[in-house]
Subunit: 338 residues, 4 copies
């Protein structure tokens, strides 16, 4: 007998909200019940495409009977409040990163929601990328012996607008945080963080005392070294690669092109197409797999992976990276992550 | 205002029928109304997953009011009759290749259905593969100057069972026919066919006087040369590649792996995964795009690409290849394709 | 105790002669004693760079005391006479392909020189290419099970001048002959030849009733199929690739670039440099290894590989290909190669 | 008129000395006059292969009339003394890295030899690697706009013996120093150094308080960020790669395999061979090009690139990396490199 569909509500009808809305609408086990956005026109336009009732007030969501969970894809400052309310109403939560830009607020939120024991999943979608996941599965299976070095290269195609950058918490909390979570996907127990940053090409970013170009180095509890290389721009598309180096070999996951076509002409040979443009394309499969995992977590009722504590840990690492890039000192995160 | 969904029926609940049924069920513009199979259990099992009413008698399909078209994925010997009936009922047709193994029967069918002027699309799904299509689009756009040589490498992972092979019409009509259509996708006007074949590894195929290994060479009206290399087995998966060589460059479309993961160890470096297992995986996107094109053809009411005449041409070329492989002589197809 | 250097003479100071002269001069076991060319200025210029005495009359070579062997890199029409004289003088011979364009002349030459029992090596240098040789060594070692299909793609960067083409014996005897020998490197016993050809881009070649674009298909005694794809031009350099497909896998040898550099920019990713320009660069290592093998053959005194009979066989196959491309019929070479 | 050969002497008949000896012997513009090693048997064995007179006492070298220069490939502790004597005798010097492990000694040496104004070249051979050099030439030519990030991945195949490690000055001064020079090849003006290190797999290295696994980060005067990833072992061979990322694109130089052969079988596809085993193979062409550059420097009489000051700078950076890895603080090298 087929299980009843899960009834879910979505907060946020912006870029990420739209991705989730389409995946919710297409998912055979999900009924997209409501789309909530104070900008009600956004919610309505989206609902017209994907189904679900458009509402402007979150209270309407929490008043809805028979809901199983919510996806929080609204602006970061709303995350903690929505998550807390959802937990209080016994709703499972899939929340986009970051939980909040302030670690104190995040830890308070954790205390508040702990008693409700609802499944909380953090939207670190890259863990569900089939390429990264395949590397991690093989590493866990011992395919390269002991993992010693992890290299993550992650470059956005172009800087976000000044407004976005200004509210983002800086490159480490906004962009590197994804790579920090991928680092913890492979090496959960990180003890030290170092980082250097420069503002090389974006006058906006420079004027905000932020960085557009960084290298972040982590050390795991067993001495493993993670190196994360970031840039806020990339001429050839969205550059997303990892290399896991171990005692008996290496596994890499490279960029994804739209096709397998290669070009040969007087200028050169074997030219592939550009990388996929940005995360919507590159991580399309990851977003769908993330939603599958959320459905399973609700059904199974246990803890989620990545869960709330993964969101905490990534923010702690991002804070440490920001501090290190400013002070020039390696920052221990042993106490903060205890 | 959204258009009304097209109501379609499916003939056949076997391997290919199942692919179509799932795509029909998932397509936002289609209602899968009926699944017809004399093996009614197959139709019922499939309909339970995808929706639609299971029927055993094709007459029930043709009696159904309000149908827009049919997908014919039943065994080859049923194709001509179902296509003719569908056309007589004014239904659009998407028919799996081949139309029939006998060219006379195919040409009679063409005469019979011509008056009904319904859209007829042939299931040469590879034309819709994003990789092959991208190469062809660029060739048409002049990216490699004048197309001079086309090389198609196409190997199945393992021979089909003896029963299948016996009824298949031989490797040229069953397997090479897809490559012959891809040849015509690039060079529609073929004038000559040569082929050589061997039975190297399959005792079944040898005992049927069929080939498991072939090379087929075509010449286009402007002297272009197409080379098709086939094998009925392949240790590393489903090998499907093309190379289009022109006066100013070359474009290739390579195999598809499940991920971008590469392995480095003591035995070697840069090892990618095996090719995708077989056509269901490799051409999954192609089947979906084919269905999109069928929907568009029904809506637009014009001729289909690939259409009935493409099915005729591919069979003529396959017959010529079979003849050439037996006689050792190049076969002109100018008259047959006039 | 180090062995005495071999004293060798070189016929021909043209493009290939110059390659040999430099390799002879650099080889630690060889003394380049004479360079012979009726165009004495060519011989003198070359000798000034590489050492050796320049002579215009071949008789001076055969009068030279203490010679061990000769390299024949003079025009094709001189090959048979020089080879015969060298053999009669007890000199080992390394002769550039082809022995002659006329098979009757070649067979007479074979009869003439047989009694002298000197080592005769044919200049099919590609057998010594490290990439092709590695594939062949692995195939012989069983790395891909039973060899079933061999695909050879071989394209020159640009057509030779009209004069050269006119005297060349046509594309099969001049260009394909190298690929035919590589086919026999893997599958020595060929029984059938088919070929198609077109003149697509070179008015000179067309006016000479020659082809600039061909596909040649061979069948081995065990049914193996070889496919050779040739073009007289190639926009991205000298395209030289092979694929050996067997029952348990495939081995390929790809093109060679000057460096491992890859370029990523807005037009695409992973672009390698052009192929090496032509055979002098691509087969530089092969020419040196060929000379090593010649030295070893002289020292060991046995038969050479590739030897005279390999030159005969390649010419027989080239003649058969030319016949097949004209008649449209598969040509058996069983009798000719008996 | 051909120039007179340069008469050179070699100090050291060990592994690197042997590489130089063979290249000296093969070089058309060089006469290898003497090989000096206190272990006279080593010098004699080598001289028997390459020519040159074997001597045990360096004084014999400096007493030799008509010498043009020396190559110093003896143990590190001898470098400063031999270089100083050579300079005092007016001999050009090609000295293997490092000049010395102690920066004070190096700076004194610089003061001592400055007055003699002889060409001093440092043996940072990787600058002459055709792959790295091609990337650098293109970067200088503006092919990727402004250089923003340089990533260097450099892994030895296996740790050196304990004795070697103990005398090596540690991973930064012994191994990373090559990468630090490559960093300066692209970005000469480095201002800051950070490093982290672990001893993950070598008990010897751990017991010496050295690291076997490190990440080093440099910042250039214009904010460019260099990331160097090192390991003392690598299961798939000698891993030597660079990525130069700029405002309009990226250029990479990958590993080198012995052939272009790729393997396809049931375990995967496109497998290349292992990386070349170690620096003797990988940088064979670089050593030859380095010698060419030395010859040109002697002929031209100007300064060398890389020269003495490049050796100083690399050591300063290595010292800073070692300090940073110990203290956890970013180290400024502005004063030290002024």
């Amino acid at each position: 007998m087929p299980q009843q569909k899960l009834r879910l509500a979505l907060f946020g009808s912006g870029r990420i909200g739209q991705v989730h809305a389409r995946n919710l609408a297409d998912h055979p086990d999900i009924e997209l019940a409501l789309i909530s956005d104070p900008f009600i026109e956004g919610a309505r336009t989206l609902a017209a495409q994907t189904g679900g009732r458009a509402v402007s007030d979150p209270a309407e969501v929490f008043a809805e009977p028979g809901l199983d969970g919510v996806i929080i894809a609204s602006p970061t400052p709303t995350h903690v409040d929505l998550m807390s309310q959802a937990a209080a109403h016994g709703l499972a939560v899939l929340c986009e990163k970051p939980i909040d830009l302030d670690i104190t607020t995040v830890l308070e939120c954790r205390d508040n929601i702990r008693e409700h024991q609802v499944p909380i999943m953090l939207g670190f979608n890259r863990r569900f990328d089939p390429n990264f996941k395949a590397v991690r599965d093989e590493v866990v299976a011992g395919a390269i012996g002991t993992l010693e070095q992890l290299t993550i290269i992650s470059r956005d195609p172009a800087p976000a607008p000044r407004d976005y950058i200004e509210a983002s918490g800086g490159i480490f909390r906004d962009m590197t945080i994804h790579d920090l979570d991928i680092a913890r996907f492979f090496i959960p127990n990180i003890v030290e963080v170092s980082a250097v940053g420069s503002a090389l090409f974006s006058a906006d970013i420079k004027s905000l005392n932020d960085f557009d170009t960084t290298t972040t180095t982590l050390r795991g509890a067993d001495g493993e070294i993670v190196t994360i290389i970031n840039s806020r721009h990339c001429a050839y598309g969205y550059d997303q690669r990892i290399e896991a180096f171990g005692s008996t070999g290496m596994l890499t996951a490279g960029n994804v092109s739209a096709t397998t076509v290669r070009r040969y002409d007087a200028t050169g040979t074997e030219q592939a197409g550009p990388c996929l443009p940005f995360f919507l394309e590159r991580y399309a499969a990851a977003y769908r797999a993330e939603l599958d995992a959320f459905v399973q977590a609700i059904r199974a009722g246990g803890t989620c992976s990545p869960g709330f504590d993964d969101g905490v840990a990534a923010l702690v690492l991002a804070d440490a990276a920001a501090e290190s890039a400013t002070t020039g000192k390696t920052v221990s995160v042993v106490d903060a992550l205890r």
